[in-house]
């Protein structure tokens, strides 16, 4: 049909072939950027669908961490007399549970994101990263909504942050996003091949909660150990989140640096692992 001269000169828009190694990352990220509309549409869909046919709607985004806070306030503070570093316990716990809930929701939903959309994996192509990323954006929306209660509580208890510390807040949230995405990429890709992952995730989330000072004071450890605790990136996130908003604890410093490094490693390795398995998603999901 087409003659040889037709083959010359023009470069193909896309070459489909077996990808190998680490190559093509730049192209993938460019595509992801081109498809940002799809990413936003997906996120919107998830937010809308999640609260359809519920009476309280997006109010659940507040109620979930709120109820957790009430439970912990009763058992830890009233019965267990847990210390809260001089801050009213409810606001202390809520400020820890906010980033924690964001992280736990992100991780759980991201782990399911590919399997839940397996039908789409088999029928259409777009960058697969969109699935886990959009679940994290969704959780971010919840976080923003739930934050409103925190600001209310801060006014009620008269706890006001220093303006200079608030500047760090976006960076702290970014670290939570990086960590959640990193672990989410690992779990979602593994879940495609091994549905065992979906049974492991709830335990993982529970264990991780106990390892994170969301509802207790984490700075009771002496110097070298508090730095080691930073190996759990959520440790750094929660401690810094409180430091930034409630202004109680000492600045997290070295521990935060360790957390940030671990978060970066999680995300990088997550991207690499995800991309290596990505090519087989449609075949094995």
């Amino acid at each position: 049909m087409a003659s040889d001269e037709a083959l010359t000169a023009r470069a193909p828009v896309y070459v489909v072939q077996r990808t190998s190694g680490w190559g093509g990352l730049g192209r993938d990220l460019r595509e992801l950027w081109q498809q940002r509309e799809l990413l936003l549409t997906f996120t919107k869909r998830t937010v809308v669908v999640r609260y359809k046919q519920t009476v309280l709607g997006i109010g659940w985004a507040i109620l979930q961490p709120f109820f957790l806070m009430v439970v912990f306030a009763l058992f830890f503070n009233r019965l267990g007399h847990a210390s809260s570093a001089g801050i009213p316990y409810p606001i202390f716990a809520y400020a820890g549970l906010l980033p924690w809930t964001f992280f736990a929701t992100s991780m759980t939903q991201a782990a399911q994101s590919l399997v839940n959309n397996q039908h789409m994996l088999r029928k259409i192509y777009f960058p697969r990263l969109i699935f886990p990323i959009s679940t994290i954006l969704t959780a971010l929306v919840d976080l923003a909504v739930a934050s409103s209660l925190l600001f209310g509580m801060m006014t009620y208890y008269g706890v006001y942050p220093e303006a200079i510390r608030l500047v760090a807040l976006p960076a702290i949230v970014l670290l939570a996003v990086v960590t959640a995405l990193g672990i989410g990429l690992w779990l979602s890709a593994l879940n495609v091949a091994y549905r065992d992952v979906q049974y492991v995730v709830p335990f993982l989330a529970q264990a991780w909660l106990f390892a994170t000072p969301a509802v207790y004071v984490g700075t009771t450890f002496s110097k070298p150990w508090s730095t080691v605790l930073g190996l759990n990136p959520m440790q750094g996130v929660v401690a810094s989140f409180r430091w930034s908003l409630l202004g109680s604890a000492r600045p997290p410093g070295l521990m935060l640096a360790v957390s940030a490094a671990v978060g970066a490693v999680l995300l990088t390795s997550g991207i690499v692992f995800f991309r290596r398995l990505e090519r087989s998603f449609a075949d094995i999901v």
Partner: protein, 426 residues
């Protein structure tokens, strides 16, 4: 000669046969992922596992603005080819170069969410198919009107009838304007008139200089729309040329094929205590009858092989003729039509004679099913297709005008008239 839009060079796609995950353990996946990419993939123990080549050295080119048909029996690799071109899956070997933005339509309404309204779903599905938001906004009214769902556009999709859902999905797809459009057999669902409108709309797309690759089992649609077609069989490209020739070869080669075809079929169900190895249609003199005529005397010939030790007391064979949508039309059932097949040999051949093939000219699906003991031993959902040509069923040289309205099945009938006593009162 115009430019090339798609060029495929030596495409291979390998799938592992059998249950996924049987020999792939977590350790392997992790090891594979962190293995240095520079290290050559050495032959591992896995190489000995059984593989199936869904595509086996397929090369072709499509010129810009061309409408290319892709035909072949089930399992020939048509869908795999489309999945590679639309980047859903990667080829095991080979390269496909795409000279333009590809839009793939392997299914109608991908990503539709029942809780969302029609409006929200148009945006969702449109974006998934690769349309820009501004593009959807511009075409929104046209899409809704085309689907005929104006009154329900702000109603959640779950309150739509299934027909309305399909129409909405089609309408969005019909307004897709990629440079290269890849369409699977999605156009077989929904009502016929609406399908025609969609195909027409897509035809406009093609006449606008766009390239279309079109997989179908509907030979008349292929002949009407695609000047050139690829014929695939068992993963191989067996013919590439004018559609008349491709269709003719497909019809003669694949209808009720004999030989080993069914032994290699992957998509089958049943316990496997016996396998249908071939199913074919013969005429009265025992020759293969690839395209029988309406009213012709034919017989189905089914070869089977049971496992040693299988219960051979009673064998039940069902051959079901169905429409392409899947609705059954006519069955040949050994346990219903006679005393049944008892004390059968372990390896044998079953005949079912049909004195007059009672089907209107057209294209049908054949399913077959075998029961041994009380278990379904083997079930092949799409054992083959049956193309019935025009013939004389009633001995009158006449047939109903068409099957769409009058139905696809014919029954021998006697007509007569007799006088009644006229009523005195009138």
């Amino acid at each position: 000669m115009s430019d090339v839009a798609v060029s495929a060079e030596g495409l291979y796609k390998r799938y592992r046969i059998g249950q996924r995950g049987n020999y792939r353990v977590l350790r392997d996946v992790l090891a594979e992922a962190i293995k240095l990419p520079v290290r050559a993939r050495s032959g591992t123990a896995h190489e000995s596992a059984r593989y199936l080549w869904a595509l086996n050295d397929v090369s072709f080119e499509v010129a810009e603005g061309e409408i290319l048909g892709i035909i072949g029996p089930n399992g020939a690799g048509k869908s795999t080819l489309l999945k590679i071109l639309s980047r859903i899956t990667e080829p095991t070997e080979g390269v496909a170069k795409l000279y333009g933005r590809v839009g793939a339509l392997l299914e109608v309404g991908t990503g539709f969410h029942l809780e969302l309204t029609g409006r929200e779903n148009v945006f969702l599905n449109g974006t998934i198919l690769g349309m820009r938001r501004t593009e959807i906004v511009a075409k929104f009214d046209e899409i809704v009107e085309f689907a005929g769902v104006q009154r329900h556009i702000d109603t959640p999709l779950k309150f739509y009838s299934s027909g309305m859902q399909v129409r909405l999905g089609f309408a969005i797809a019909a307004f897709l304007e990629p440079e290269i459009l890849v369409v699977d057999e999605v156009l077989t669902v929904g009502d016929l008139a609406f399908q025609e409108r969609c195909l027409g709309k897509m035809g406009e797309v093609a006449s606008g200089g766009r390239t279309v690759l079109f997989v179908s089992h509907n030979m008349s649609a292929i002949l009407a729309r695609c000047p050139r077609s690829l014929l695939l069989e068992a993963g191989k490209l067996v013919y590439d040329g004018p559609s008349e020739e491709s269709v003719a070869r497909y019809v003669s080669a694949s209808q009720m094929t004999g030989g080993a075809w069914l032994t290699e079929r992957r998509k089958r169900k049943g316990t496997g205590s016996a396998r249908i190895t071939s199913l074919r249609l013969e005429d009265t003199s025992g020759n293969l009858c690839p395209s029988p005529a309406t009213g012709q005397t034919v017989r189905f010939v089914l070869d089977y092989e049971a496992q040693p030790g299988a219960n051979l007391k009673e064998l039940v064979v069902n051959i079901v003729i169905s429409e392409h949508g899947g609705r059954g039309l006519l069955s040949f059932m050994s346990q219903v039509a006679g005393p049944g097949l008892r004390d059968v040999p372990r390896v044998g051949r079953v005949y079912c004679s049909v004195p007059q093939l009672p089907l209107m000219p057209g294209h049908y699906n054949v399913k077959c099913l075998m029961v041994l003991g009380s278990e379904v031993a083997d079930k092949v959902h799409q054992a083959g297709s049956l193309i019935v040509s025009e013939g004389d069923f009633f001995g009158t040289d006449r047939l109903p005008p068409h099957a769409d309205y009058y139905g696809p099945v014919l029954v021998a009938q006697d007509w007569s008239v007799e006088p009644l006593a006229e009523s005195a009162a009138i």
